[in-house]
């Protein structure tokens, strides 16, 4: 994750500096938005002047492009592995949700950028792949849900399209409040979240013995 991709590096690491700058830019893009982050902001964060950034990158767009491309390649690689395991709809949904919360944990900035800036960035031709990735998301989720309805794992009256949106949004929107250093791990949150989505928040009468007193 840090020493790949350089061409003929002399040793101290021009490409690690590159990765360092990308990480700083990513954090700022995530916090303030792509358009609101200036190249001077990024340079200042790195302790250099804005002109010096152009020794490493073509443009501000290139930075966002590089950040998003590598993140999405990795994420969808993992999704494809999960689907290939053919665990059945419920287990697949659980695994995909868990992976997504892990991404919120391990690639917080990238998820935030993808969530918040994709709509703006996709208008530029070089970011056309963002629309493809969104379509891929849609296909992934709706086929899991539709299969679950077919096999009886999920309720027969589910509106698959609407349910897809709710699940997708709730998972990713966690990036707005999730703090990697917080008391709850990504796994804890995924578990709690799956509890709500699968079984609801209403108390059950006669099943799970979780309630305490009056009904």
């Amino acid at each position: 994750m840090s020493s790949t991709k350089q061409t003929a590096d002399s040793g101290s690491g021009s490409s690690s500096r590159r990765a360092e700058l990308l990480a700083l830019a990513g954090t700022l893009f995530a916090e303030r938005g792509f358009k609101s982050t200036t190249v001077r902001d990024i340079a200042e964060e790195a302790g250099i002047l804005s002109g010096s950034l152009y020794h490493h990158f073509d443009s501000k767009e290139s930075m966002a492009d590089e950040i998003l491309r590598s993140f999405l390649d990795e994420l969808f690689g993992t999704y494809r592995e999960i689907v290939a395991r053919e665990l059945g709809p419920r287990k697949t949904l659980e695994a995909v949700v868990a992976t997504s919360f892990e991404a919120v944990h391990n690639h917080h900035d990238e998820v935030a950028i993808f969530q918040n800036e994709a709509k703006y960035l996709v208008q530029f031709p070089r970011f056309a792949y963002l629309a493809e990735r969104n379509a891929e998301f849609h296909e992934l989720w709706t086929s899991i849900l539709a299969e679950g309805v077919r096999t009886g794992a999920f309720r027969a009256d589910l509106d698959v399209e609407l349910t897809y949106r709710f699940i997708r949004d709730t998972v990713w929107v966690a990036v707005h409040w999730y703090k990697p250093a917080g008391s709850l791990s990504a796994e804890d949150i995924a578990d709690e979240y799956l509890g709500i989505v699968l079984d609801g928040i209403a108390a059950r009468r006669g099943r799970r013995p979780v309630r305490k007193s009056a009904g």
Copy 2:
């Protein structure tokens, strides 16, 4: 809501023009974000030049301020009415969710601005009330959930704080895909959403078969 506040209107309505301009600005703020929307964009949308906007408003910030203030006053007024009815946790939750989806329907731009831009705007002193409104939201939702856990309406093992975030986010994030002209009304969506949150998407063995139609 449209003919208040003008000083000595000559008849054709300087304040309706004002409302018109605010609506245009609101749509742009919602679509592109506050910072990315230029006063020239707004003026162009209105068919005038940027300088002319300053006859109606002090600044770009004033426009966002006015939009958010009136919307939030109305929304929280409705929330307070619901709470005052003392319907019990489950019915209160249903009413608050329904009201929120109605807001997504009736005040789409305002909800989007509040969702997407509050974090940025709140840094300016004049938008300090946004932080207060967020705290009010938190109080509203967590007391409904906590009471529900206490009375046994909701699962005893709920993490109230986490559940609050999930519900809050899922409701508001709908603003990103909800189209007022779409086939599903805000009420349809609120129903489907409440079905998921209250009872989950997993099929039940031997209990309530479904909520409304098919069996």
